[in-house]
C-alpha cells in the first residue's frame, strides 16, 4: 500500500506541475525545500542522543494506567 500511495503522490505532483507550467520555478522550489529539509535533519542530528541503539534499549518503563 505504501508503494501505491507513493506513486499516487508522484502522479499528483506531476499533474500539478503540468497545470502550473512552470517547471524551472518548481524545480528551484523543490531544491529549496530539499535544502531546508537537509538543514532541519542536520540540526536534529545535533540534538539527538548519541548511540541511538543503546539509548533506546535502556528506555524501559514500568506500566502505568
Amino acid at each position: 500500500m505504501a508503494e501505491s500511495e507513493q506513486s499516487q503522490r508522484k502522479a499528483r505532483r506531476t499533474e500539478d506541475r503540468e497545470i502550473e507550467e512552470l517547471p524551472p520555478t518548481d524545480s528551484a522550489h523543490k531544491a529549496e525545500l530539499d535544502s531546508e529539509v537537509d538543514s532541519l535533519l542536520d540540526e536534529i542530528d545535533d540534538v539527538l542522543e548519541v548511540n541511538a541503539e543503546e539509548f533506546v534499549r535502556s528506555f524501559v518503563q514500568k506500566g502505568g494506567q
Binding site: 505504501a2 541511538a52 502505568g64
Partner: protein, 536 residues
C-alpha cells in the same frame, strides 16, 4: 459575596443557562521517566560511551521529580484528601500539625509519595511509578490546551531541578509507551449528567474514540504492544486496548472505562474517564481531542446522535485504524454497513453541527466562537486526511513525526527497525526544550500553535478563572502554608485559633470561580480573615 450558603461550600451559583451548557473537563498525564547515571554521555557531543542505566526505582525517581518541583515557588506540598465525603474527624491522617507539612516531610499518607497541589489548581504527584500532572478543571478546549502545555512546562522544570539535586540526568517524556510492552496513560475527564444512561455512552461514544485516532494519534514506531513488528502506526496507545468496557486502567484496558468517581455531587454528575487518548505535543491535536470529544458528548447527552454507529468489533477496529496510515481501512458497523474512520468522524461532526444549530442561542459568545472554530478545524483535518495527509504535518503529531521519519528514511536509507527512528519517536516527546524534537520543529516554524509561551507560563502559575480550580489554586498561592490537604472537591485548612482543622467542600466544579470568590480572597490578608468573610 459575604457569607457561605447552607451546604457550606463557596457561593453563589453561576447563571443557570451558562451552567446548563458549561462542560467541565480536564487532562491528566503520566510521563515516561528515566535517569542516566554519572558517566553516561549527556547529549550528542558527549563521549559516545554506553548509557548507564540508573538503579533508582522509578517510583523513587518520580518522587524526586515531584519533590524537586514542589520545593519551587509554583507549588506547595500538601496532603491529598482521599475521603472527600466524610467529616474531618473521621479522616485518617489529619491530626498532623502544620510543621509536618514542611517540604521535606510531606504529609501525604500515600506511602510517603510526594503530592503537590499547584497554584494553577493542578495536582502533581506520583502514580504507578510515573510522575503525573493532573490539570485543573477547565470549561473550554483552549484552556485545556493552555493547562496541558503548562503541565509540560512543569515537568521540564521538575526534570531540570531533579537533575541538579540528584546529580544524574533525569529525562521525562510526554509519550505513552516504551515500545517494549509497557504503556502509561493520558486520560481525559468529562463531567456528565448522572441522568444520561451509561449504556448510551457505551453504544454511541465508542466509535468516536476508535475513529478519532486519525486526529489525536501521537505516532509510534513499532507495531504490537512490544513492537514485535517493525513499522509506524498512528497511535501510541491503540495496541494496548483489549476490552470494550470495563473498570481497569492498567490491565485488560477497556475502550470505555467505567470508573465512577465524579469528584462532584454524585447524585447529579458522572465523570467520564477517557483512557484511550495519546499524549499530544501538538496544541492543535490536544485542542481537537478534547474539543471534539466534549461536543460529541453534548450530542449524546441530548440524545441527538440519531443512529448508534456501533462498530462490529471495536477492539480490532482500534488497532486497524492505528495501523492504517492511509486512514482508509474499511470498518464495519453492527448493522453491516461498511464505513471508515474518516466517515465516522464526518458523521460525528455533522451531528455536532446539527446540535449546535439547536443550542447556539443558549451558548455564551465564547462558547459559540470556540465551537465554530473547532468544527472548521475538524472539517479541514478530515478533508486533508482524505486528500493529502502530509499537508497536516504542521498540525498533527503523528503526521509531523511520520514526515520527519520519512525524510530520515530517504536521506539515510533507514528501515523501520532502525534504532535511530525509535530514538526520534522517543525524543520527539522529551519535555526538555533543549532536546525535544517537537520543540525543534516548533522553533523552525514547522508546528502551528494556538497559545503563546507567555500564556503557557501564566497557566503554569495561575488557575483557570471559571471553575473551582480558581479557589484551589488561589488558596495554594496565598494561604498555602495553612492548607494541610486538598482534593478535587475539598480544601482542608489549619486556621490559627481554631481547635479543629477546617474543611471547605467544593462539590460543585462551577463554584469557587474568580467572579464568585476573587474579591473576598483579594480582601483577606490572612486565612482567618478569609474564614470570617466566608461566615465560617
Amino acid at each position: 459575596m459575604s457569607s457561605a450558603d447552607e451546604d457550606g461550600s463557596v457561593p453563589p451559583p453561576m447563571d443557570p443557562a451558562a451552567r446548563r451548557h458549561a462542560r467541565v473537563m480536564g487532562i491528566e498525564t503520566e510521563y515516561g521517566i528515566s535517569a542516566l547515571a554519572a558517566g553516561s554521555p549527556a547529549i550528542a557531543g558527549g563521549t559516545g560511551a554506553a548509557y548507564i542505566e540508573d538503579d533508582l526505582h522509578p517510583m523513587q525517581l518520580s518522587n524526586h521529580v515531584v519533590k524537586a518541583y514542589g520545593n519551587s515557588s509554583a507549588g506547595q506540598p500538601a496532603g491529598w484528601d482521599y475521603e472527600t465525603e466524610t467529616p474531618l474527624r473521621d479522616i485518617r491522617g489529619y491530626e498532623i500539625s502544620r510543621s509536618a507539612a514542611h517540604p521535606d516531610q510531606l504529609t501525604d499518607s500515600d506511602l510517603g509519595m510526594a503530592n503537590v497541589i499547584l497554584t494553577n489548581g493542578a495536582r502533581l504527584y506520583v502514580d504507578h511509578a510515573h510522575p503525573e500532572y493532573s490539570g485543573p478543571e477547565v470549561t473550554s478546549a483552549l484552556d485545556a490546551v493552555r493547562y496541558d502545555k503548562a503541565g509540560d512546562a512543569v515537568m521540564a522544570i521538575a526534570a531540570q531541578r531533579a537533575t541538579q539535586s540528584l546529580g544524574r540526568s533525569v529525562r521525562l517524556y510526554k509519550n505513552n509507551t516504551d515500545g517494549k510492552g509497557a504503556s502509561y496513560g493520558t486520560h481525559e475527564n468529562y463531567l456528565l449528567q448522572r441522568s444520561t444512561p451509561f449504556d448510551r455512552i457505551v453504544t454511541q461514544f465508542t466509535a468516536f474514540l476508535v475513529s478519532r485516532q486519525v486526529i489525536t494519534g501521537a505516532g509510534r514506531v513499532g507495531i504490537g504492544q512490544a513492537s514485535q513488528q517493525a513499522g509506524f502506526q498512528i497511535s501510541q496507545r491503540a495496541d494496548f486496548f483489549e476490552a470494550e468496557v470495563g473498570l481497569e486502567t492498567t490491565l485488560n484496558r477497556p475502550i470505555i472505562n467505567t470508573r465512577d468517581e465524579p469528584h462532584a455531587d454524585a447524585s447529579r454528575h458522572r465523570r467520564l474517564h477517557v483512557i484511550t487518548g495519546d499524549a499530544n505535543l501538538s496544541e492543535i491535536a490536544t485542542y481537537l481531542k478534547v474539543g471534539t470529544a466534549a461536543w460529541v458528548l453534548r450530542v449524546i447527552e441530548a440524545g441527538e446522535l440519531g443512529r448508534d454507529l456501533r462498530l462490529d468489533a471495536p477492539v480490532a477496529a482500534m488497532r486497524a485504524v492505528s495501523h492504517d496510515l492511509t486512514c482508509r481501512e474499511p470498518l464495519y458497523l453492527q448493522e453491516g454497513r461498511r464505513t471508515s474512520a474518516l466517515d465516522l468522524q464526518e458523521a460525528y461532526l455533522e451531528a455536532c453541527r446539527d446540535h449546535y444549530e439547536r443550542v447556539a442561542e443558549d451558548l455564551s459568545e465564547n462558547m459559540r466562537i470556540e465551537a465554530k472554530d473547532l468544527f472548521g478545524r475538524w472539517q479541514d483535518c478530515l478533508d486533508a486526511l482524505r486528500t493529502d495527509i502530509f499537508s497536516l504535518a504542521e498540525q498533527l503529531d503523528w503526521v509531523a513525526k511520520l514526515k520527519l521519519m520519512e525524510s530520515y528514511r530517504e536521506r539515510d536509507g533507514l528501515s523501520w527497525d532502525a534504532p535511530k527512528l525509535a530514538l526520534i519517536d522517543l525524543q520527539y516527546a522529551d519535555v526538555d526544550p533543549r532536546r525535544s524534537l517537537y520543540q525543534a520543529l516548533l522553533a523552525k516554524g514547522r508546528m502551528r500553535r494556538l497559545v503563546t509561551d507567555d500564556e503557557i507560563e501564566r497557566a503554569r502559575t495561575h488557575p483557570p478563572e471559571d471553575t473551582r480550580a480558581y479557589f484551589r489554586g488561589r488558596m495554594m498561592e496565598k494561604f498555602g502554608s495553612s492548607v494541610v490537604a486538598a482534593s478535587w472537591d475539598s480544601v482542608i485548612f489549619d486556621v490559627p485559633d481554631r481547635p479543629a482543622l477546617q474543611r471547605l467542600p467544593l462539590l460543585d466544579p462551577l463554584r469557587g470561580t474568580k467572579a464568585q470568590v476573587g474579591q473576598v480572597i483579594e480582601d483577606s490578608a490572612t486565612v482567618s480573615d478569609l474564614f470570617a468573610a466566608l461566615g465560617r
